[in-house]
Amino acid sequence: MLLESKENLTIDKEEFKPLIVAFCCNWCSYAGADLAGTSRLNYPANIRIIKVPCSCRVNPNFVLRAFQNGADGVVIAGCHPGDCHYSTGNYFARRRLTLFTSLLNYIGIESERLKVDWISAAEANKFATVMNDVLEKVHKLGPNRKLRDVRWKR
């Protein structure tokens, strides 16, 4: 009983820490994240990076499931158009995600919560900037409740 009430207290006091899920392509953005880490650049710890082979591997289902199961924001990052390891993957991804982000927006998800960007392996700075930027915006919006699965527990 005592333990429980203690826990509740801490949660109440706890400031909102957004949870951001970042899908990063193996060849550029993930390497960019790596570089940001080794260069000791500051980027927020509440970003959960999921490595995907290529930005075009990100199925919209992944994004929806992320939002349903706790994400307050989702980032999809890939190589710059023209630089994809598989030559054309991100050109396809660009079209798909253009339509998909617009569709989610149409359904009522704030566009700040779903961010797509191109980050190369050398752009550690950009990686940190983009992540900080997303975090800031999501923080301003507050916790996400949209699309959330009622059965989900933090």
Partner: protein, 326 residues
């Protein structure tokens, strides 16, 4: 109408008896006068069951997928909107056009029994006929003359292709028919004008009505995967639980899955027992594609590939921010 029925019977009889086709897909009468159902004919005796009236609204093209597994050559009656679906099936490699003979049927617009029922015209309906823009209807109470447009399906009012866009034989010269609701992105615009909270409320309310009967998926000529993630619960992608998030998941994935391929035939909204505004999702995507990638022509040209399986180097890029960080 009677003329058309005899043409249909004649061509079906001829092609079946000369073995040009071994199966014919057309319309037959249902249990009620306001029902027409798909029928599948292999025997010459059954040819007489073919009908053509103001309730032949079903898109028959999708039945080809299954029927072609058992039959070599199929003759099928397709209206304008059905022929768009047929083209898309060909493009998606679901149907080999060499195995199909399309009998094109120009369509004047179909009548929605629900609209008749709202005016209490359905119960004692005996007979119904269309003369140009007029609807002659005979009930127990006698004959009445109505304006046809008032009773057409919504999707028919918006129809852009009343005449088949592809056919082997055309059964009648083309109808001249104008759609009256020309600016049909208007509904999409209205939703776009809301703020994101309102939009979310609107769609949540729509989606939560869904009973997941999958009628919208089953009727759709474009939703043609052999195995659908929504039938395959073991892979853990989709859940059957009746919670908002699963309904949202279904609807977003369904709409996105037909992105660039949806032929805007309107069948999904028509069959939905909960009257969910499915078409407003499809049309949003169509609107985006039109604005960003140029004219939308799914179903019109079977040799041109769909928007999402294609790209251009100079495509519009809404994501590019500055290169490099601070």
């Amino acid at each position: 109408m009677e003329e058309m029925i005899s043409k249909m019977k004649k061509i079906a009889y001829e092609d079946l008896s000369t073995k040009k086709v071994d199966r014919v897909i057309g319309f037959g009468k249902g249990d009620f006068i306001y029902e027409a159902n798909p029928i599948f004919i292999s025997n010459l005796e059954e040819v007489d069951l073919l009908v053509w009236d103001l309730f032949c609204v079903n898109n028959l093209s999708k039945y080809l997928i299954n029927e072609l597994k058992n039959y070599q050559k199929i003759g099928i009656f397709l209206k304008g909107c059905d022929s768009l679906g047929f083209n898309q099936l060909v493009k998606d490699n679901k149907v080999d056009p060499d195995n199909v003979i399309v009998y094109g049927v120009p369509c004047e617009g179909m009548i929605d029994p629900n609209k008749l029922s709202k005016k209490n015209l359905l119960k004692d309906l005996r007979y119904l006929r269309r003369v140009d823009e007029k609807l002659i209807i005979v009930t127990k109470q006698g004959e009445k003359e109505l304006i046809a447009k008032d009773y057409e399906y919504d999707k028919c009012l918006k129809c852009k292709h009343p005449n088949p866009v592809v056919y082997s034989e055309l059964l009648e010269s083309n109808t001249l028919r104008n759609s009256i609701l020309t600016d049909d992105f208007e509904e999409v615009d209205r939703i776009e004008d809301m703020n994101s909270e309102e939009r979310y409320e609107y769609w949540s309310e729509q989606f939560s009505k869904c009973i997941r009967c999958y009628a919208c998926r089953n009727i759709c000529p474009v939703c043609s995967c052999d195995k659908c993630i929504f039938d395959n619960l073991d892979i853990g992608v989709s859940g059957k639980a009746k919670v908002d998030s699963e309904d949202q998941f279904f609807h977003i994935v369904r709409a996105y899955h037909v992105a660039g391929r949806c032929v805007d035939c309107g069948e999904c909204s028509r069959v939905c027992p909960e009257s969910i505004a499915i078409d407003k999702l499809n049309r949003k995507i169509i609107k985006d594609i039109t604005e960003i990638y140029g004219e939308y022509d799914a179903g019109l040209n079977p040799s041109k590939s769909s928007v999402l399986v294609n790209y251009k180097l100079e495509d519009f890029d809404p994501f590019e921010t500055s290169k490099g960080g601070k």
